[in-house]
């Protein structure tokens, strides 16, 4: 079993690197390096713009270095009414939503590989097809209201438990695993739950980490559910609060147009945050937690699993 601990790197290193390999490595590093920089720049651009003077930033003058540094954008954001509650709601729904989704997805993904299940294909399709259905706003709202879910925390969780896309991923993944382990366990008389919990789940960590990322980011970023189903301010999600904050900025800008000079003075406008600066600030605030958490999940898919060791 010693061989299993060697990863690609060391096994490749055993052989003398050919010239082609070297060239490939250099190009590989270079391309990835450049691409990563291209991906970082816009985010960097947003950060420097949110801390630069708002008028300069709106004019597009801030490109590489911040200027007129101030933090009023962030201060304004952090002093929003109800920010604390909203953050708690968002964290709550992200954690609970992710855990329930991952468990349900893993279980259903596993169950749909059990060929003995009654009408397995039918039920699988029954689930997959809903990805393409969109009933529309009004019936959804009335359904939620009928079920007593509007203005409750559970409206964030329950409707999202079954996610077809993720189920497909998990099912495909499990099917790609060697069947021998499962069969051996079944012969040993292991029940379906034991096979799921003790044998399948441990080897599924990479795909479940992926599903967790998808679910968590989805929950963290969604505001539509609050918009449609929640009017109780105590249940506002962070995203929704920030979203209304952005809207408020743009609708204030529109008000200047509608009421003309009467409502606004030059002084008031000069200190006003532009919708763009607010949008950027919100984006930065929302993305940073994701960036901090993401590497934790990542560990699960660099590890690489060792089928062999499960056997023993």
């Amino acid at each position: 079993m010693k061989g299993n601990k060697l990863d690609n790197a060391s096994s490749a290193a055993k052989y003398k690197l050919s010239a082609g390999d070297k060239v490939f490595s250099v190009i590989n590093y270079l391309v990835f390096g450049i691409f990563t920089l291209i991906c970082i720049y816009p985010f960097y651009y947003m950060i420097i713009n949110t801390i630069s003077a708002n008028d300069l930033s709106a004019a597009g003058d801030i490109r590489f270095l911040p200027s007129g540094i101030h933090f009023s954008n962030y201060q304004a954001l952090l002093s929003l009414n109800g920010l604390g509650t909203a953050a708690l709601v968002s964290i709550g729904k992200t954690v609970i939503g992710t855990v329930t989704t991952v468990l349900a997805t893993a279980f259903l993904g596993f169950m749909f590989t059990q060929e003995r299940m009654w009408k397995r294909k039918f039920w699988y399709r029954y689930v997959v097809i809903i990805m393409y259905f969109n009933a529309g706003l009004i019936p959804m709202f009335i359904t939620m209201k009928t079920l007593g879910l509007t203005n409750t925390f559970w409206v964030y969780i329950i409707p999202g438990i079954v996610q077809p896309f993720n189920i497909i991923l998990v099912k495909t993944y499990i099917e790609s695993l060697p069947k021998s382990v499962q069969e051996a366990a079944e012969i040993d008389g292991a029940g379906v739950f034991r096979r799921f919990w003790q044998i399948t789940l441990p080897v599924c960590t990479p795909i479940l980490a992926t599903v967790a990322i998808f679910a968590a980011v989805g929950q963290w970023n969604s505001y539509q559910d609050t918009l449609i189903y929640i009017t109780d301010q105590k249940l506002y999600s962070l995203q929704y609060l920030l979203y209304t904050y952005i809207n408020q900025a743009s609708s204030l800008a529109a008000m200047v147009r509608n009421t003309g000079m009467q409502g606004m003075s030059a002084a008031a406008l000069a200190t006003q945050q532009t919708p763009t600066s607010i949008q950027m600030t919100v984006s930065v605030v929302v993305v940073l937690p994701i960036l901090c958490i993401y590497p934790i999940f990542q560990r699960y898919f660099v590890k690489g699993i060792m089928i062999g060791s499960v056997k023993g």
Binding site: A59, G148, T244, M261, G263, A266
Partner: protein, 582 residues
């Protein structure tokens, strides 16, 4: 148990939402509190189409309302909540829009609300309130065709229909960087073409002085394009036209012209802009920038011409700039006749306040609504729109009976981040401004509390005296001593006032709206391409292509309706004018 009943009821509701009507039509059966019994605090869900704030009203305005009525306002603002019509659709489908409802009534929406049983008849609750007698005409107009008093009016005015409803500045007008214009020696501008020449000279001068190339005479943006390119419509308004669908209708009804006509003012402006672009006077960012970016350019004074006072003066005419003699001011064009919206003696029927059918205490809500139409209500509620705020805090009357802003008022108005004294509710002034954003009464009306001055404090003598700057003095000196733009325009007969009427366009068929949607984008896109065409030939080709496509999509069908609407509107204006003359 209660929950169960609710969910059972909802279940029934859901079934009926598909096939039958929802909500009840019951009107004024139970009045929960006799007038004046406000001992129990209630929170109103306020569905407000116009609010720019979502959530509970806070600050000084909240305190006024709480003290007077023991009411808290929880504002539900579709503008801020987002999702377009989402909130309206789902809330109406569920049969409860809100306790207090402030809505736009166009396209038959008020009738629909009444028919669907979502709002109640408030006749009984309004008995004996001043508003009923004082604004009787307006209330009647707002409820025309309805059996009862379902709606309270917007922007009532005691001015005549032919009095401009604007304050010190018109809605549209040719504003330029006055300092550069002065440096050129105040050349005369006879028409739009000569304005182009002047602007060209100004651009040259400005670039030399500032040493940069990014100063332009014109800058456009696409965000507000609707039936036509918004920027190209504005100069039409300076010649007395306003849009009504695809028709430009003159303020006095003397002309209704299709925008795509060979000699329509719209086409003239497009040609003018094309010319301007050929001469390098148009900001090349115009094609891709949005309003935010454009307004930041005005804030830096980098665009020399602006069709609106608020986009130019509001952003650039800071104390610092005006003290240095820099700033935007209106530059009169000899042949212009700026479109002005007349006051609405019968109220502007395009917006209304209603009481929701599920409201708990309709009597108290009615009392609150009635208060909004009293001088005190107007001063407080409409502060965000330009009224002076509560007496004793922001303003007062001096020994000569003239209103003036207090020191606090000077700091706080119009909506600044100034701390309010605790006895007035504390918090920031700005955050305490009424979120309703609904002008019950026009601010150009006389406020009896001030003696004989208007609610609009920017028209007060004391305010104008304080506000004078070197820039304005120079402008005034060249404007025959006029103190405000409106004063100049009125005295030089450059204002075309369209009488305020209760006319609103009728409900449109779904198929026409759809065709209209497609035609709109064709016209907007075509216009942009024409302005940035590289030569005359391309310009003509693009024009032909635009007109052909628009007509192919059914432009003429829309036009027919718009023409009829324009005629009806003119008739209504004529009637309002005659009423005035009586």
């Amino acid at each position: 148990m209660k929950k169960r009943i609710v969910s059972l009821a909802m279940c029934a509701l859901m079934m009926t939402s598909v096939f039958a009507g929802c909500g009840s039509k019951s009107a004024s059966t139970a009045s929960a509190s006799a007038k004046g019994d406000y001992s129990k605090e209630i929170t109103l869900d306020v569905y407000d189409d116009f609010a720019n704030y979502n959530g509970e009203q806070s600050g000084w305005f909240a305190k006024v309302v709480k003290d007077k009525f023991n009411i808290k306002l929880n504002i539900i603002a579709p503008n801020v909540a987002g999702g377009g019509d989402t909130l309206f659709q789902t809330r109406t489908a569920a049969g409860d829009l809100g306790d207090l409802i402030l809505v736009g009534t166009s396209n038959g929406r008020l009738d629909d609300l009444v028919d669907a049983g979502l709002v109640i008849d408030m006749t009984d609750y309004m008995q004996g309130q001043d508003v009923v007698t004082q604004y009787k005409d307006a209330i009647d107009a707002a409820n025309e065709g309805l059996d009862g008093m379902y709606a309270m009016p917007y922007s009532c005015s005691s001015d005549s229909a032919t009095t401009p409803s604007e304050g010190t500045e018109p809605t549209f007008g040719p504003y330029v960087r006055w300092d550069y214009y002065a440096e050129l020696g105040y050349p005369e501008v006879t028409d739009l073409n000569s304005l182009l020449d002047v602007l060209e000279d100004m651009q040259k001068l400005a670039r030399e002085e500032e040493g940069t190339d990014d100063i332009y005479a014109f800058s456009f943006f696409k965000d507000w394009d609707g039936n036509m390119m918004n920027n190209a419509k504005q100069p039409c308004c300076m010649y007395g036209y306003d849009e009504l669908g695809f028709v430009l209708s003159k303020y006095d009804g003397s002309e209704d012209i299709s925008i795509l006509d060979e000699d329509s003012p719209y086409m003239d402006v497009v040609k003018l802009y094309y010319e301007a672009n050929q001469r390098g006077l148009v900001d090349p960012d115009s094609t891709t920038q949005n309003y935010d970016i454009m307004s930041s350019k005005y804030a830096e004074g980098k665009i020399l011409f602006c069709p609106w006072p608020w986009a130019s003066k509001s952003y650039f005419n800071t104390q610092e700039n005006t003290a240095a003699g820099k700033g935007y001011e209106m530059l009169p064009i000899d042949d212009m006749k700026i479109f002005s919206y007349g006051a609405y003696p019968q109220g502007d029927t395009s917006r209304a306040i209603c009481i929701g059918s599920q409201a708990e205490d309709p009597q108290r809500i009615a009392d609150f609504i009635a208060w909004l139409y009293t001088p005190e209500g107007i001063e407080c509620n409409e502060q965000g729109n330009g009224a002076q705020g509560p007496q004793g805090l922001t303003w007062d009357v001096d020994e000569n009976g003239k209103p003036y802003l207090t020191e606090f008022g000077k700091k706080a108005l119009p909506s600044n981040d100034v701390t309010v004294p605790d006895e007035w509710g504390g918090g920031s002034w700005k955050d305490g401004v009424s979120a309703l954003n609904f002008q019950c009464v026009n601010l150009q009306d006389i406020d009896p509390n001030t003696g004989s001055d208007k609610y609009n404090y920017t028209t007060w003598e004391s305010y104008l005296a304080d506000a004078s700057t070197p820039l304005e003095e120079d402008w005034s000196a060249h404007m025959d001593g006029a103190k405000t733009t409106m004063e100049y325009l009125e005295s030089h007969d450059m204002l075309g006032v369209a009488p305020g009427t209760t006319y609103s366009t009728p409900t449109e068929d779904s198929n026409i709206s759809t065709i209209r949607g497609q035609v709109k984008t064709t016209i907007v896109d075509g216009t942009w391409k024409m302005i940035f065409a590289s030569n005359d030939k391309e310009y003509e080709n693009l024009k032909k292509e635009m007109i052909d496509t628009a007509k192919g999509l059914g432009y003429d069908d829309c036009l027919k309706i718009d023409m009829q609407n324009a005629k009806d509107q003119t008739a209504a204006r004529q009637a309002a004018k005659e009423l005035d003359a009586e």
